[in-house]
């Protein structure tokens, strides 16, 4: 079974600092998720630069298929060592999960990673190994649906130190907090935020160290099918629509002609909804069996704009076609675009802006935006 690793990150900066000295780099390749966390020694600019350097080197090497051990060796050999303290300038934590749930973890000088399964929290199993003259912890584990992995920087472990809690929250403190939070969290962002809020609370709103929480939830991928335009050959209409309808996941049809075609084939009426008025986005329509029906290029072009600012989208209550599609896309992991090759006579209208008249161009924009958000996008020309 294909699994999806949903990942979220939440961070606090040390009080008085504008830059966080912890760095998280999340990379998705065709078949895996790579999360690299690094905590640069100290805080502020120096720590941020070192942590950024570490995460960038590691994630770009891993994304290009370099073996984990080689990456660790490169990092441990290139990281500058503090002259006074005789330790490397930044910590390193690498988590790689493939889409079958096989995970590999590397830890170097960082807090132990939390693994949560069926309500129990325990350290991710690792073994000590010497790589490039340094002791690193490396472990592998087969993850299942509903497992959680949480990575934190030492700022979370030390939350409240010397203040509310003499020795800080500690690993066990974080673990017991996670046990409670995992049961309640609806998604990975929820878990990140509740753990980070807890740390900020123990710091009394004045974090003594940069604090990072990365939560990964293993679940089945959410799939969305988006049909844009009728097939190039009219004789394939029925076959393509039936294949689209039987595909798993949510279904969105974009484009008036396409919606009419689907409505004709499934023999259900298409009703344009005039309930919500938006000057820039044409109205949506309702069709039984389809989750959302919208106009085509204008809506999709605006959807790509909305995806550019996901936070604003989450906070807005706009119900136009573009916002509705964008919200559905954000909540999906695997997006299948059924791009119809038929030439739309309406797009030949010389009054249309030149950026609008090519479906390909709009789809390309949409794809780029979605991939930036970590979505897996498949475009099939039908």
């Amino acid at each position: 079974m294909t699994l999806h690793a949903e990942v979220s990150v939440a961070q606090l900066c040390k009080i008085g600092e504008e830059l966080c000295g912890d760095k998280v780099q999340v990379t998705r390749t065709a078949d895996s998720l790579i999360v690299v966390v690094s905590d640069g020694l100290g805080s502020g600019v120096k720590a941020n630069i070192l942590a950024t350097l570490t995460t960038k080197i590691a994630s770009s090497m891993l994304a290009r298929g370099t073996e984990l051990e080689d990456v660790v060796e490169t990092i441990t050999q290139t990281l500058p060592v503090c002259r006074e303290r005789k330790i490397a300038y930044s910590t390193l934590q690498i988590l790689r999960i493939d889409n079958m749930g096989h995970s590999t973890l590397v830890e170097f000088d960082c807090p132990r990673t939390f693994l949560c399964r069926t309500g129990h929290v325990l350290p991710f199993p690792v073994q000590s190994r010497i790589v490039g003259g340094k002791t690193v912890l490396i472990g592998q584990f087969e993850l299942q649906e509903n497992d959680w992995i949480t990575l934190v920087s030492d700022g979370a472990i030390h939350a409240g130190i010397g203040g509310l809690l003499p020795l800080g929250l500690g690993w066990n403190g974080v673990a017991s907090r996670l046990t409670e939070d995992v049961a309640k969290a609806s998604d990975s962002l929820d878990l990140c935020n509740s753990l980070l809020d807890c740390c900020e609370g123990y710091y009394l709103g004045k974090p003594g160290d940069d604090t990072t929480v990365v939560a990964v939830k293993i679940r089945r991928p959410h799939r969305l099918n988006l049909m844009v335009g009728p097939p190039a050959l009219p004789e394939r209409d029925r076959e393509v629509v039936q294949r689209f309808l039987s595909a798993p996941g949510a279904k969105v049809v974009s484009g008036g002609t396409t919606a009419t075609l689907v409505s004709r084939i499934i023999e259900k009426p298409l009703k344009v909804s005039l309930d919500y008025h938006d000057q820039n986005i044409p109205p949506i329509a309702h069709l039984e069996g389809i989750d959302l029906v919208t106009e085509g290029v204008l809506t999709l072009n605006a959807t790509a704009d909305r995806l550019h600012t996901p936070k604003a989208l989450r906070q807005s209550n706009r119900m136009d076609g573009a916002s509705l599609i964008a919200r559905m896309l954000i909540n999906s992991d695997h997006i299948y675009i059924w791009a119809g090759g038929a030439v739309n006579p309406a797009h030949q209208n010389p009054l249309l802006p030149s950026t609008m008249n090519i479906k390909l161009q709009v789809l390309r924009r949409l794809r780029t935006q979605l991939e930036l958000l970590g979505k897996v996008v498949h475009i099939e020309w039908v």
Binding site: G256, L270, K271, V272, S273, H277, P282, A285, E295, N349
Partner: protein
């Protein structure tokens, strides 16, 4: 009851279909209740938008003023 179907396709939208809806929505209540507004995905008349169909008759290049004239003549 007068049925007014307005094309909501890309081309008609760009040519001002929304203005047609707005003008119909702002009709005085006594007239508004005699008009049924429906959205339609496409009339296949994209080059001559916005397209409106009033009681079955297709009107090309519709403008709010022209639409009001026709409606008032038919109510």
């Amino acid at each position: 009851m007068l049925t007014v179907e307005i094309c909501m396709g890309t081309s008609c939208h760009l040519m001002g279909a929304q203005d047609l809806i707005s003008i119909l929505e702002s009709l005085p209540a006594s007239q508004r209740e005699q008009v049924e507004i429906k959205g339609v995905t496409c009339f296949k008349n994209c080059g001559k938008g916005p397209s409106v169909r009033i009681n079955g008759e297709l009107i090309s290049n519709a403008t709010p003023d022209r639409l009001l004239e026709i409606i008032q003549a038919n109510i």
